[in-house]
């Protein structure tokens, strides 16, 4: 391992390299372009390929194609580019393609403020494409976590044959902090299962863990990557049994591994508290300081920080909360708030939409929270 001092964007790039990234396709967009620029320099020297495509749609489709040759693939973008990638996310879901998509959120809607942050893509990260599906989404709050969760994203993608979203934002992207970079052998790296048979392995026949081994191109598997609803062979199956089987399996293979996917951190939640702050990403940094300040003033406050935004483990969250009032702090009009309200049925849940192009000062946050104290 080695220690360095660098930005969130670079940390994501390094995380991808540690995880075994082999193919990157992207399009420049503020504030994510450094990821592609850094990889364009580093990845070819490690035997990988980086290509700047003509748009985001081409980028994600190329990344999906590359994944089907067995290469770990990634693309990074921001809000406007993420919106363009919608259809392809659905393609990755139904073809069960391992893929990491990084959305470095910026202020929207539309062109918004390209150089400043928001957390407004949270629901889009959950359900960008049309159709019925669930995909994992991770939200780092620091440079080190940007690195760690990118590795986790790759592992999740490979383990469950699914696209995974890493939600960073403009603050984390350009924030500089110390980073520990691990060597390939020092951290757990998961690779996708590949079938052993030589011929015509049904590309969508699941193992007991509901994930089929992936018959990558070029090995004589005669794989069929199919965007239509299909049966186990990959053949178009417009029938109730096949449709239900496919859609439910695509959900269950993710939800069954909630234990692996769902990560969160709590601060002082094992004490008897009156208030619990819930936050994630860059906003959590301010929420944490606000919590410390409130505790200093005598309030019994604890905090729960989500590292995994989707899917949420309602059991774990409910069990970990002893407070009566929950305040959800996020840099949007209240998105995770909706699920917190749904999950915490016994508590009063409030939304603190801290719309802030840069990290808000703590006193502003305290002012907002004090309404409910």
């Amino acid at each position: 391992m080695r220690k360095t001092f660098t930005s969130g964007n670079i940390a994501i790039a390094e995380g991808a390299i540690t995880a075994g990234l082999k193919f990157y396709a992207g399009y420049p967009i503020t504030p994510s372009s450094e990821i592609m620029e850094y990889l364009a320099e580093k990845l070819p020297k490690l035997g990988g390929v980086v290509i700047q495509m003509e748009d985001e749609i081409a980028s994600i489709n190329a990344a999906i194609g590359a994944s089907w040759t067995g290469a770990k693939s990634m693309t990074a973008t921001s809000g406007p580019g993420f919106s363009l990638m919608a259809e392809a996310v659905g393609l990755a879901v139904i073809t069960e393609t391992p893929l990491v998509i990084v959305d470095v959120m910026r202020a929207g809607p539309s062109t918004g403020v390209p150089t400043k942050a928001s957390q407004s893509d949270v629901l889009q990260a959950r359900w960008l494409a049309h159709g019925d599906y669930v995909i994992p989404c991770y939200a780092p709050w620091s440079v080190q976590e940007a690195y760690d969760l990118t590795i986790k994203a790759f592992n999740t993608a490979e383990l469950l044959r699914t696209p995974v979203v890493v939600l960073s934002d403009a603050i984390i992207a350009h924030l500089w902090e110390p980073l520990t970079i691990y060597d390939h052998g020092e951290v757990n790296i998961i690779d996708r299962k590949i079938p052993r048979t030589g011929e015509r392995a049904p590309p969508y026949k699941p193992d007991p863990d509901l994930v089929p081994p992936m018959p990558i191109f070029g090995k004589g598997f005669k794989a069929l990557v199919e965007s239509l609803v299909h049966d186990e062979r990959g053949y178009y199956a417009p029938r109730d049994e096949s449709y239900r089987a496919l859609v439910t399996r695509l959900h269950m293979k993710i939800l069954k591994r909630l234990d692996y996917i769902f990560e969160y951190e709590t601060y002082y939640c094992d004490e008897e508290c009156e208030y619990m702050l819930v936050s994630y990403g860059s906003t959590a940094r301010v929420a944490y300081i606000a919590m410390l300040e409130l505790r200093r003033r005598g309030y019994r406050v604890c905090m729960s920080r989500l590292k995994t935004l989707w899917p949420l483990d309602r059991e774990k969250l409910v069990k970990s909360c002893r407070a009566r009032k929950i305040i959800v702090l996020e840099n949007n009009m209240g998105k995770i708030y909706m699920d917190m309200e749904r999950i915490f049925k016994e508590q009063e849940v409030y939304s603190a939409p801290l719309l802030s192009l840069e990290l808000p000062p703590v006193r502003e946050v305290l002012e907002v929270i004090s309404v409910w104290l």
Binding site: K45, E54, D55, N61, A62, I64, G65, W68, F217, Y235
Partner: protein, 279 residues
């Protein structure tokens, strides 16, 4: 299905997922003819040892032509409308040993996929793109396409198409492709020979195949019978050994020139990439 297929069937069966036959194509649809000719070319190259069938990957978008990816007995992908070329770019860059064939219709490749087509040709990326032109969006019932001739009545231009058509050959020829040819289903030998040649080349190879579509386009222009449409197309198709781009416009009255418009040996994207990367 009541009748069992006998084991020894058509000589091209090794290229097909025979359990999915008969295809969904209409009677007289030219796509099957094009596929047969392509298989013959593949067959020859496989026998020569130049092409490894395990390394061939077919990529199709959405549409009747792109559905060929469902029937071929190779690694194949049936992806999003217009995005086959982007997907294929990822495939060939991540594994340059693979021989990628993109197949699609004129709407899929030159309409919604136009931008990807342009950039792939500009890069001279290593792949063969087969565009089967039937002048209409047939799968969805007969809407106007980028190549639909002026004045033709389609389901979305019921008073006649007010747009002049796109000449895809001329468009791609302005870029860096190594091979641009046009064939037709009424002259399947040329499809086979052009594809055979393309398999031996590097870089971006583009073959347009003018096709019959009796059920949909035929309905629009009054040639609903497969044999009638085939014969009418045959009257208009003319092969030229070295056609110029000025002759590449498709004109149902003046005739359709087929042949090899561009054939050159400029460095492909993979070759340029190798030169650029310093290890």
């Amino acid at each position: 299905m009541a009748v069992e297929h006998s084991k020894i069937l058509h000589p091209l069966d090794r290229h097909l997922r025979t359990e999915r036959l008969p295809t969904m194509y209409c009677p007289g649809c030219g796509i099957g003819i094009a596929l047969g000719a392509i298989f013959r070319a593949l067959d020859r190259r496989i026998r020569e040892g130049l092409v490894d069938p395990n390394k061939v990957v077919w990529v199709g978008g959405i549409g009747c032509s792109a559905r060929a990816s469902l029937y071929v007995n190779y690694d194949a992908a049936h992806v999003l409308h217009g995005r086959a070329i982007a997907f294929a770019t990822g495939v060939v860059l991540a594994n340059p040993e693979l021989q990628v064939i993109v197949i699609g219709g004129d709407g899929d490749i030159a309409g919604i996929g136009g931008n990807h087509l342009i950039h792939a040709a500009k890069r001279n990326i290593d792949m063969i793109v087969v565009m089967i032109t039937n002048f209409v969006y047939a799968m969805t019932g007969g809407q106007v396409a980028p190549t639909t001739p002026l004045g033709v009545k389609t389901t979305t231009t019921p008073s006649g198409n007010p747009e002049p058509p796109l000449n895809v050959i001329k468009l791609i020829a302005s870029l860096n492709a190594n091979y641009i040819a046009r064939a037709s289903v009424v002259t399947p030998h040329y499809i086979e020979n052009f594809f055979y040649k393309a398999l031996g080349m590097k870089g971006f190879r583009f073959i347009e195949i003018i096709s019959t579509c009796p059920e949909i386009y035929g309905r629009h222009i009054g040639l609903r019978d497969p044999v009638e449409m085939y014969n009418e197309l045959k009257k208009r198709v003319k092969y030229k050994p070295k056609p110029s781009l000025e002759e590449s416009d498709i004109n149902w009255d003046k005739g359709i020139i087929i042949g090899e418009f561009i054939e050159r040996n400029t460095p492909s994207y993979l070759e340029l990439l190798r030169k650029v990367y310093v290890r």
